[in-house]
């Protein structure tokens, strides 16, 4: 049983309860027990006080798209290091993708991740099961068994299911277990050998292009299959203006389609690739200015539901190689908050919308009782100083991998404390 905790004097922003007020939050027995005006809750009720003056007090943040790499790829990340990076970045829950070795395509791997997380992780971990066995896109994985062991969604993230018949069947099948399908929507055949956004710049740099159409085709397909099956479909890291247009029409139609934006797609463009720095190599690739603008607008309007990092740790051996040989992706758990908070500072997003996209929106997608400061609920809380600057230096990297384009950058917005189930797990 954790000791009682009083978080004093912060700005409480909880979009799930339409709350944006100065106040104190009392945590007892691991649960939110009271929220009141500043000074109203006697300090004597808590064994532990946390000074949140000048800070934001938020429902614990959720990141529904991370790669923890365990089992099998522990040289990149482990459940322990990845979740320590998560709480350092203000996240109290993460959902981890299935592309481990072995792939999380059976109930046994799901149970392993759950049990390992229970033993070593400072935050909550929700496994995402594979759609197909071995992520091969040939046969359905044991989705029912994985859900019974705690999987909250299914995805062949990184290996899009190219067979539309199979994807349709997967959506049908998932309905029996009430989990959404998360789609990494890129037509793998059209991507081909492409390593960056196709356009004048890829031509200039002599790198093979991956056209926006590859994403747009699969987003359109997932929407068509969603219309057919009515299975909830979530588009991971949506990145092109036209894909957003498909999404807008699908939502207007009332289809259960949602989408996430990654911090890098919201803030970086393909121009970053000029020097062939592999820290800017992602899938989908960084796009042009107009796509980034459209993505920011879509996040602000709620068309894009949430922010997810696609935290993708890779070792030196994977990233310090030729651009076209390098692995896709970057770590993101520790930088997501400051990088996306910059959109609030710039006036692109309201604070409320920003918090929603990291709390209640992802919680709703996975059907989790978190992302809220509702009294009585388990106390997952993130305390953030939105103004404090800090440098993301090598020694501050908690993740086992260092593949970040933000390494050495000055960032604004710093996590003061992360609380999971009433316990301070990062300070």
């Amino acid at each position: 049983m954790s000791e009682a905790l009083l978080i004093q004097g912060g700005r409480i922003i909880d979009p799930s309860r339409d709350l944006d007020v100065p106040g104190d939050v009392l945590v007892e027995n691991g649960r939110i027990s009271a929220i009141d005006a500043p000074g109203k809750i006697p300090a004597s009720r808590a064994a532990r006080l946390l000074d949140a003056r000048g800070a934001w007090v938020l429902p614990g943040l959720l990141d529904i798209h991370v790669h923890l790499r365990e089992p099998g790829l522990e040289y990149k990340e482990t459940i322990e290091t990845g979740t320590r990076a998560a709480v350092a970045g203000g996240f109290t829950s993460v959902a981890c993708m299935a592309n481990t070795q072995p792939v999380n395509d059976t109930p046994y791997v799901t149970a392993f991740i759950r049990e390992k997380a229970k033993a070593v992780a400072p935050c909550r971990v929700f496994p995402v099961g594979a759609v197909t066995k071995g992520l091969k896109g040939e046969e359905l994985a044991e989705i029912g068994g994985m859900v019974a062991e705690g999987a909250k969604a299914i995805s062949d993230d990184g290996m899009p299911v190219m067979n539309s018949y199979l994807m349709r069947k997967a959506m049908d099948y998932a309905k029996a277990f009430g989990v959404p399908i998360i789609s990494h929507a890129e037509d793998a055949c059209l991507v081909g050998q492409g390593v960056m956004n196709e356009g004048p710049l890829s031509n200039e740099l002599g790198l093979r292009g991956n056209p926006a159409a590859a994403e747009e085709i699969l987003v359109a397909r997932e929407i068509a299959l969603c219309r057919l099956t009515r299975c909830p479909v979530h588009i991971a890291h949506i990145s092109t203006a036209l894909a957003l247009e498909h999404l807008r029409r699908a939502k207007e139609e009332g289809l259960p389609v949602t989408a996430e934006a990654s911090p890098h797609h919201l803030t970086l463009t393909e121009e970053c690739i000029r020097h062939y720095d592999t820290h800017y190599k992602m899938a989908p690739p960084l796009r042009g200015e107009r796509d980034v603008e459209a993505l920011r607008d879509a996040l602000a309007s709620g068309l894009v539901d949430l922010i997810a990092t696609d935290h993708a740790p890779h070792g030196e051996i994977d990233k310090r190689v030729e651009f076209d040989q390098a692995a896709n992706g970057i770590i993101g758990l520790q930088t997501a908050v400051p990088v996306t908070l910059e959109l609030v500072h710039q006036g692109v997003l309201s604070a409320r919308r920003w918090v929603e996209s990291l709390t209640s929106a992802p919680a709703r997608l996975l059907g989790l009782p978190y992302g809220t400061l509702q009294p009585g609920r388990e106390a997952d809380i993130t305390v953030l100083d939105p103004e404090q600057s800090w440098i993301f230096s090598e020694d501050r990297v908690v993740s086992k991998s260092r593949n970040s384009p933000y390494l050495g950058a000055r960032l604004r917005g710093r996590i003061k404390a992360t609380v999971v189930a009433g316990k301070i797990v990062y300070e």
Binding site: K133, I143, Y165, Y173
Partner: protein
Amino acid sequence: MMRKLQHLVAAADLDAAQIGYLLGVARTFSPYVQRGETIPLLQGKTVVNLFFENSTRTRTSFEVATRRLGGATTNFAASTSSVQKGETLVDTARNIVAMGPHCIVVRHASAGSPSILARALTIPVVNAGDGFHEHPTQALLDAYTIQETLKSVEGKRIVIFGDIAHSRVARSNIHILKKLGASIAVCGPPTLLPPKPDALGVDHAYRLEELLPDADVVMALRVQLERQNRMQIPSANEYARFWGLDREKAKLLKKDAIILHPGPINRGVELDTEVADGPRSVILHQVFNGVLVRMAVLAAVCNPEGLAEWLDRGGHRV
């Protein structure tokens, strides 16, 4: 006046009066068959079993039914004959009809084949299963078995589970049991349910546990677990766990609920052995009743006058 039964192509074509008549005839035949007696309503007639798809039990059941009525049967396994030489379905059938039989019993992997033949031929056609479409005599024998065990079909809750989308048995049963006043729910992985189950006039659920407590009749269907089906079912293990009627799930059933299966059973998959062989199981009654309803159908389409006369005389020997 009951509509004349010229062919039996689809359960969808039967009205409640026709279904009631056929089941009544089957019931009248029952004591004779149990005593091993012949009812010579097909004396001097020949029934051709034209099977374009492998089948042992259905074909045998039709053969036995024909012989119990004093008729002769000829089997025509189309997969090993003229079809391989490129002959069309209708030409094959017309050639057979030219030999002078009195009825054709047809099974075909392509939905609608019996309907095509019924329009093209001058003799009665009985459907012994066409693709995913219909298997009307199976549904008649299931209805007969339910009536026999539970007195009536009317008002009963019937749960059909398994591969509904690709099941001619499910489709025919839905038609017949609904017309007899049952309420029906289908269950299975959504990959094996038709896209709009409601359009069939039935309820549906993805989890068997939701439906079992209210069921009077549970009808298990065979599932295809071959590798080529792994886009619809991940494994036999997962199927059995969520959609197999095992001892645990069977505990949810009412005391008098009965279990049917059209066979052949995948033991340990859709039905556990102790459930398949337990006291609720009426599976072997279904097989016996299959002979009775096929006799009723053959007599009704091949010799309606003789049958009416025989019934008028109280079912005594002709």
